[in-house]
C-alpha cells in the first residue's frame, strides 16, 4: 500500500461521488432544458431500433450483475451455492450481457459515424462520453475474462478484493489494501468506471437519472395552472431560439 493506492482507492471514489451527486444537483437546478436523451431517431430509425434496445437491455443486466457481485458478500452466497457454480452463472450471464452491450454500442457508434445527420449532431462531449463508455465496457470484459489471475499467476477472487473494498467505501473506512491486492485489469476497469460516473452529470448520460417510472402511477390527463412567470422581452440570445441555419452542434463543441 503506497500513496498512489491511497489516493486512487481511498480518496478518488469520494471525489467522484461528490462530483456525481453535486453535478446532478447542479444540473437539475440550472439546466433542466438541457436534460434530455437528445434522441436522434428523427434522423435514423432502422439501426437505432436494433442497437438501442440491445445496448440498454444488455446494460441493465450488466448493472444488475455488478450490484449482485459487489453488494452481496461472498460468505452469503457460499451458504447457498459453491464458488464454482456462482462463478459459472456470473461468468456466462455476464459475458452474454456484456457482449450484447458491446454489440449494441458498436452498432450505435457505427450508426452515429455513418449516418450524416446523426454524426453532425454529435458533440465533442458525446465523443468523450462514447470513448469512456466503451472503455469501461471493454475493460470490464477483459477483467471478467482474464482478471482472475495476477501477472504472477496467483488466483485473485474479485469478490474478496474489489467487492470488499467497494462495500467498505460506504462505511467510510476504505479498505485500500483489499483493492490494492486486485489485478491491473480490475484496477483499470474501476478507474474508467469512476471517470464515467464523473462524466454522467455533464453528458447526455444524465437521462438515465430521470427514468420516468412515475408514469406508471400518474393520471393520464394533467391539469396545471398558468405559470406565474411573466414572459419578458428578451434581447439577449435565448436558448432554443437560434436562427435557422445554425447547425445542430456548434463547430466549436464538435
Amino acid at each position: 500500500m503506497n500513496a498512489v493506492d491511497i489516493l486512487l482507492w481511498g480518496a478518488l471514489p469520494y471525489v467522484v461521488a461528490l462530483v456525481l451527486v453535486g453535478g446532478l444537483i447542479w444540473r437539475y437546478r440550472y439546466d433542466q432544458f438541457g436534460w434530455t436523451t437528445r434522441s436522434s431517431q428523427l434522423y435514423e430509425s432502422r439501426l437505432l431500433r436494433i442497437g438501442s434496445p440491445v445496448f440498454h437491455y444488455g446494460l441493465f443486466v450488466v448493472l444488475a450483475g455488478h450490484l449482485a457481485g459487489l453488494f452481496i458478500p461472498k460468505a452469503w452466497t457460499d451458504l447457498v451455492i459453491s464458488q464454482e457454480t456462482y462463478h459459472l452463472i456470473a461468468f456466462t450471464a455476464g459475458t452474454i450481457a456484456g457482449v450484447a452491450t458491446l454489440l449494441g454500442i458498436v452498432l450505435l457508434i457505427y450508426r452515429r459515424r455513418t449516418t450524416g445527420p446523426v454524426f453532425l449532431a454529435t458533440t465533442k462531449n458525446d465523443k468523450l462520453m462514447y470513448v469512456v463508455l466503451v472503455a469501461a465496457i471493454v475493460f470490464g470484459m477483459i477483467a471478467t475474462l482474464t482478471g482472475s489471475r495476477t501477472t504472477a499467476g496467483m488466483e485473485v477472487n474479485y469478490r474478496e478484493t474489489v467487492s470488499v473494498w467497494f462495500r467498505s467505501l460506504f462505511i467510510f473506512q476504505p479498505d485500500v489494501a483489499a483493492m490494492a491486492g486486485s489485478t491491473w485489469q480490475f484496477k483499470v476497469h474501476i478507474l474508467v468506471g469512476l471517470a464515467l460516473f464523473a462524466l454522467v452529470p455533464f453528458s447526455r448520460l444524465v437521462h438515465a437519472f430521470t427514468v420516468p417510472l412515475h408514469y406508471l402511477f400518474r393520471p393520464y390527463i394533467v391539469y396545471r395552472s398558468r405559470d406565474v412567470v411573466v414572459p419578458t422581452a428578451s434581447r439577449g440570445r435565448v436558448r432554443g431560439w437560434d436562427p435557422v441555419g445554425t447547425l445542430d452542434r456548434d463547430r466549436k463543441t464538435r
Partner: protein
Amino acid sequence: MATRKLTRVMAQVGMVMNLDKCIGCHTCSVTCKQAWTNRAGTEYVWFNNVETRPGQGYPRRYEDQERWRGGWVRTKSGGLRLRSGGRFQKLLSIFASPVQPELADYYEPWTYDYQNLISAPLGDDFPVARPKSLITGEDTKITWSANWDDSLGGSTATAELDPIVEKLRNEANEQIRMEYEKSFMFFLPRICEHCLNPSCMASCPSGAIYKRAEDGIVLVDQDRCRGWRQCITGCPYKKMYFNHRSGKAEKCTFCYPRIEVGLPTVCSETCVGRLRYLGIILYDPDAVTEAACADEKDLYEAQLDLMLDPYDPQVIALAREGGMPDDWIEAAQRSPIYALAKHFRVALPLHPEYRTMPMVWYIPPLSPVVDLLTKQGHDGEAAGNLFGAIDTLRIPVSYLAELFTAGDTQVVTGVLQKLAAMRSYMRGVTLGTGRDPELAAAVGMTPDALEQMYRLLAIAKYAERYVIPTAHREEAHNLEELACSLDYEDGPGMYESGPFGEASGRPVPVAIETYSALKERQRADTAASSEALQHRAGMLNWDANQETER
C-alpha cells in the same frame, strides 16, 4: 349520459375555421412559422399547416392510425386505451420508439444558396441558387415538402395514398377520381386541437405535457420534457413535433402569450380569408372521459354534450365558485365557438373517432359540391340544384364525413344543407326576390336564425370573430414592463454552449415580444412613442404606426 351531476365548470379556448373561405394562401402557416418555429431545430415544424384534400396531409398519411398508432381506442370493456399501448409497454420500449415518424415522413428542410447569386464570378452561365439541406448543410434534392401536393398538384399520382381516399375505395367501393372534371378539392388548415382528452399528454412518460386549468391550452413544459418522444406517436393529428436540436417536444401553443392579453393567435390575426373564429366554451371536465368512450357514431354528439350552456344559472354559479372571472363567463356567452358548434351546429370536430375530443372545429366546405355542379354545367348556387346535389353527389359528402364525423354522412349532409339554405336564402335577399321562409324551414331553422348565422359567417367583425377574455395579469403586466432584459444578458443561457457542451446554463423564460405593449400599439391612433420598442419591427409587429428605419 346526462345523469352525471355537474360539480365543476372549466373554460377552454377553441377555434372554428370556415373551410369554404380558405383560399389556401398559406399566410397562416408562414406567419406562424415566422413567429414560432423560425429556429434551428424546428425547420420542418409547422404548428399551422394547410393541406389540400384529397391529399396525404402533413406528415404524409398521418391519418393512417394502423401505421402511426395515434389517439385512443375503446377497449372491450368500454374503457379507453392508448392505441400505441399501455404504460408498461411504453416504458419497456422506450429505448427506441417502435413507431416514430422520421424526417422522410415530413421532409428534409432546405434553403437556397442565395449568396451565390451575387458572389458568383462573371461568366457565360447564369449563377443559380442551389438548394441546401438545413439538416446537413449539403446540397440536396427537394423531393417533398409540407404542401407538396398543394391544390392537387401531382395528385393523379399521389392522392391515391390519401388514407381517406384509400378507405373509401376499400370499404365503400367509392372511387375518387382525380381527372379535372370529376375531382373536387378544398383546403384544410390544421393546428394543434388543444384536445379535452389529449393522447399526447397521456403518452408522456415524464408528465411534462399539461393542460392549463384556466383556458385549456395544451403545452409542453420544456424543462420537464426529457425527449422520450412518446407524445409524437400519441398524437393522432401529428401536431407534436420533435425539436432535433434541443431534443425536446414542441407544439402549437395557441399563441398563449397573445391570447392572455386578448390578442388572437397569429394564424387567426393574419388569415386572409378571415375564416377563423376564437372564443371560449365552458365544459364539464369530469364528463370528458365518459364522453370519449361513446360509440363511434355518437362521439360528435357526446362532444357537443360536454359544452355547457353559458346562460344556465347553475353553470354560471359553478363557474363563479371555481373562481372564473365574470368577463370570462360573459365571453363564453358571446363565444362564436359555442354559437357555431353547438347553437347552429354547423362546425364539426376533426376526426372525432380519435377520441381525443379536439377543440378546433370546422365548418365543412360546400364548395366541392358547388364546384362539381358547376363543372357539370349547372347553376351551382341555385337552391334546388344544391339540395339535390348534396344528396346525390356521394363522394364529397362521404369524404367530408370521414374527416369530420367518423363516416356519418347524415350529419355532414345536415350541415351542408344548412349552408346551402343560407346561401340560397341570402341570394334571394340580394337579388331582391324576397326572403324565402321555406328555405329556412327546410333545414329546421327560422329565417331570423338563418340571417344571424349569415352575419356571423359572412360579415362578423374582428370583435365578433375573436372573443378572447384576458388573463387578468394587470399586476404581472407592470412587472413585465419593469423587468430588465439585462437580468438575463450575462446568464449562462446567453451562450450557445456552456463549459459542458450543449447542455449547461440557465433557462430563460420563453418570450419573443412584449405582447401587451404590442396590443396597445396595434390599437393606438398615434405612432408608438416608447423608446424601448424602437428597433423592434419584425414582420409580425409592424403596425404601420411605426417610423421605418431605412
